[in-house]
Symmetry: D2
Subunit: 349 residues, 4 copies
């Protein structure tokens, strides 16, 4: 093995950032050389996250492109959307590989970005260059990416569940409805009433119904497999738990379909991609069965009475929906086995 | 006021039973004269439920029809399904009014009962006589009922959300999809791995997908408003919370529709029925906003892009989904104001 | 019955404020005539709390002493500490009865207030006049109070558990250790990282160890029964739940003591005070057994091996630890039965 | 590196068993060659635990000593107490190393075992031979153990927090009070009303006050450092969370003591033992800061007013309190670095 790759993390004090640290610290081919947080620069990261005490005692740096260039080969930008797009052009200029966990580079259309994200900041540049990092599906493109746009959490769960059925023309794309549920960590560490403990505990809350910024991202991805612009119905709910996303997805079957056959076809589709696991007939995944891990588990039900297919897909939003998939993409970009550093079994119970 | 009505509760040591007690104890026109539990007969109910200490110190009786007849005017049967149907013929024979919280009298078709409930016990008799107690919708029938079949928790939330739109022919009944979520109390106090704390906490679990026994109950109710047999897609999930049901429901609009107008029409539909509250435009209810109370709160979203209506309906499954609606039905049967004894504000936070 | 009492609530949009509303709305002798919130004045309270929709549709007022005087007979000040002490002199001047739920009037010593509360605001005046409202213990004084200082949540649970043993000289006051645990609602609706959902869920956190401002309040109360200044050890923990406080308390027995005898003595001490319930031998209360109610439940264990008594006391912090006890005190001040408007059974499960 | 060690796990379908699998599967020097469960023999372990799908697809074996001998070098017995003591003599006879996670070999006195465990099964033999595996404290003895008795979860947290202070004679052993709190996984996967979801959620429950079978285990360990029989007060509570134990411990200081000095002394005591982390002055650990990991974090507070020391110690009960420490002990027994296979960062949030 050659020298390890040197990685910097911008936005290290968010949940995505610390989760990158949790995995990268044990990654055999990566050294974390810089943790960056403009809000907490100068402090040790373990001041913000005591669980890192004695394990990761790095001081947080300011954002300084020259310094990042000196200390790193690859940069993870785990910032809120609207911020990474202001930094990434300089990082690319400095010939760094960039893996962006914000939403700034996911939508190929600036117009859609403005409409759904409602930022007043300038439009991201380099949209064309950005490769969309749904690892199991776009691995070929990812291998040569310089700017990798890591998928959103909901889009990851939804797309992995739907793409095989769409590719095989099993379902009517116009009929797709996605009922999505997420734990609170998806909202990050930023304080807000909706994730105030007493408000969310023992509660189940819909939010941004038909308005979530992940809608155009999912539609953009699915459209690539449908061959024309696809429109979905998408509802999001906050569930009183920390980690986990479930997408319960409904679509009309184009023609009657055998459940076991569908399962076999999905298994074939994802053959060789260890992080997608297809449940046996009559078994559906629960979010805890992937907690703390990079797995996406998928189960099915076909209702002959209605001719509808139900697909249930779960991920850990902080792992496969953020940091884990980002590392999986790094592995692909570097030519390593995609599971490197990610071989952890879900934490259960 | 005349003498209060005397009430017996069969199945007092289940969650539905103790919730009946919580409300009835403060009901101005009802005396609880007998609490019955075949499994714990002879003990005080506060042995099983210490929260009742010094408030309800009744000894649990055996099931004894003669004794019940002597001590009561009305009987709540809060037993598992398959049990109340064995008792109710004798209770009716004894000229007692019966309000049944099990599922035994909800389906008018014995065939469907056998198919979905999978009991080996004999078919319930008196199916024709039983009045389905969706209080806001079937009040007229309820007022004269002798045998009241209290609706299931999911069917209550789903039906109240869908019936107005179906009645007004706003939506295509063939397109209805119900994504339902419930807290653990819906499974009762009976032990099981799916509601073992370490298994459900920090977890979200689908179960009985397309197989739940509430499917034919919902279809039977909706069909009355559609005018023909209606088939739905229905998925159930366990959420890591104790109380609360949310139904997120999807249907295709028959023609474009204004959201505010729809809200107004729903408010008109439920005018004079204080336990249904319709949210303002752009606001959706969360389960905690009805916790501990008999309210059913409903919100909407119309997506012009897809032509679909999303309806979100929440109840407390133990109250409006069980004990509360049972008392509301008693109130109707007795000619009292339907809110009597149920005027509690939701417990928040 | 004469005209009902008119009540104003200052700080209506905090958890204590809405809980006052939940109980007062059904109180037979009280009308809520004004809900006041300087931060949300002009809005309807149901904008902040949708669970109140159609039940309490009052607009929030500014703090205006003249207006309060015109509209009210009694004022509940449910503000953060440091704020009510600036308003109360004027309210008293206006001849209003005041029940203060902040901590400003609990400590008789201004010096201690400054030390433990660490406010920079001026010292509260009228400290002498304020009556400490531990309802079961100081009912005589409370009946004639004009300014009632409602006890803190921890001090309520701790004092009710310890006072009988101290009064009867059963335990050594120097040996008292209180291990206290609270749900998140004790921290109010104000956002903070410690009660951010993802931080508190699936977590148990100590805070303010030996530094909590309730320490001098408990010591002040206990000292009245010991006859000299008493010093305690007091630790507080945040538990991943919304409501509930438990104090597990340890003290050395002065001489060997029979557990049943002690239970009998506690029951005698609280005879006629329905909101304190003493558990039978070998049974200890859990927080949910008082949820949503005004009860304080207490259990015991004597360890003959160590000569120590363990006392476990639970309350719902928002009810008996705040709004419920405030109403209980109003009842006492008005000469009504102390349970008026508070007769609710705990919500279980 | 030579051939890996072959490990068998008896009791693989309990929470301790699957947690052993989670860690051992990535252990560089261990192969799991047999997973054993008398209750589920013949099934795949992933039938019971879908999170293991495609990761651990081993069929569960019956208990068969000959087979175990052929397939293994070391056996983990993760059974309920009373069961492993019936198997272990034969395993030792077969010259297998045994690491026992039940409580059967922890107490050196059979009399105490009978008194506190209340089993009717025969007394364990080989008590003398069993080495008590508190890894940081008894490493010397552990290195040569053939029969390793893994400590209980509470005793691990309590002993690591108290032993340094006792060794240094800082505290009066007669004054020790331990207020312990645990998540539900400590009760295992066995169903029971106390860990039924609706009963434990939003609840905090004391249990076995002064009666827990871990009391004599803690006393036995502490007595070795006190030099005489030590008696403690010990209370256990169930907290609504899955993982985590906190012991909040109180003791009288023998003489005034500086907090920073005490911290330094603890750090010195545990120097070279990476799994114990001592918090800085004024910081206390929370359970989530060790979740999923083998760390034990400890914080302090000295109250000069009372002369008492408060020690707060947290572990993940399933890891450091069970499977993790068992593997740490295996590492010591095999002469490997004690962190091998356990280098995981806590999962946060």
């Amino acid at each position: 093995m050659n020298n390890p790759i040197r990685a910097a993390i911008i936005g290290s004090t968010g949940y995505g950032g610390v989760e990158l640290i949790r995995f990268l610290i044990n990654h055999p081919y990566v050294d974390i050389t810089s943790v960056i947080s403009s809000s907490s620069a100068g402090e040790s990261i373990s001041d913000s996250y005591p669980h890192l005490n004695q394990l990761v005692e790095l001081d947080l740096d300011q954002v300084d492109i020259d310094l990042i260039q000196k200390k790193s080969d690859v940069v993870f930008t785990a910032t809120p959307s609207g911020i990474s797009s202001a930094l990434i052009p300089d990082l690319l200029e400095a010939e760094l590989k960039v893996i962006d966990l914000s939403g700034d580079y996911r939508l190929k259309s600036g117009e859609l970005y403005v409409k759904w994200y409602q930022h007043k900041s300038p439009l991201p540049t380099h949209l064309e260059q950005a490769v969309y990092g749904l690892s199991e599906v776009f691995a070929e493109d990812i291998r040569t990416a310089e700017l990798l746009s890591n998928p959103g959490c909901y889009p990851t769960a939804a797309s992995l569940g739907l793409i095989p059925a769409l590719s095989m023309k099993k379902i009517d794309p116009k009929s797709i409805i996605i009922d999505a549920k997420s734990g609170a960590s998806g909202a990050g560490r930023k304080l807000g009433l909706s994730v105030h403990y007493s408000e969310l505990n023992e509660n189940l809350k819909p939010y941004k119904v038909n308005q979530h910024q992940h809608i155009p991202e999912i539609e953009q991805t699915l459209s690539r497999f449908v061959g024309e612009q696809t429109t979905i119905t998408f509802t999001t709910h906050l569930v009183p738990m920390t980690r986990g996303i479930m997408c319960t997805m409904y679509a009309n079957l184009v023609e009657p379909c055998d459940e076991q056959q569908l399962i076999d076809q999905y298994r074939k589709y994802f053959k060789g991609r260890p992080f997608v696991r297809i449940r046996d007939k009559g078994r559906w995944p629960s979010t805890k069965e992937v907690a703390g891990s990079n797995y996406c588990d998928i189960g099915f039900s076909i209702d002959e009475r209605t001719g509808r297919l139900t697909i249930i897909s779960v991920i850990d939003n902080v792992v496969k929906g953020a940091a884990g998939q980002a590392i999986q993409n790094l592995n692909l970009m570097m030519g390593w086995d995609e599971t490197t550093g990610l071989e952890m079994i879900p934490v259960y119970p």
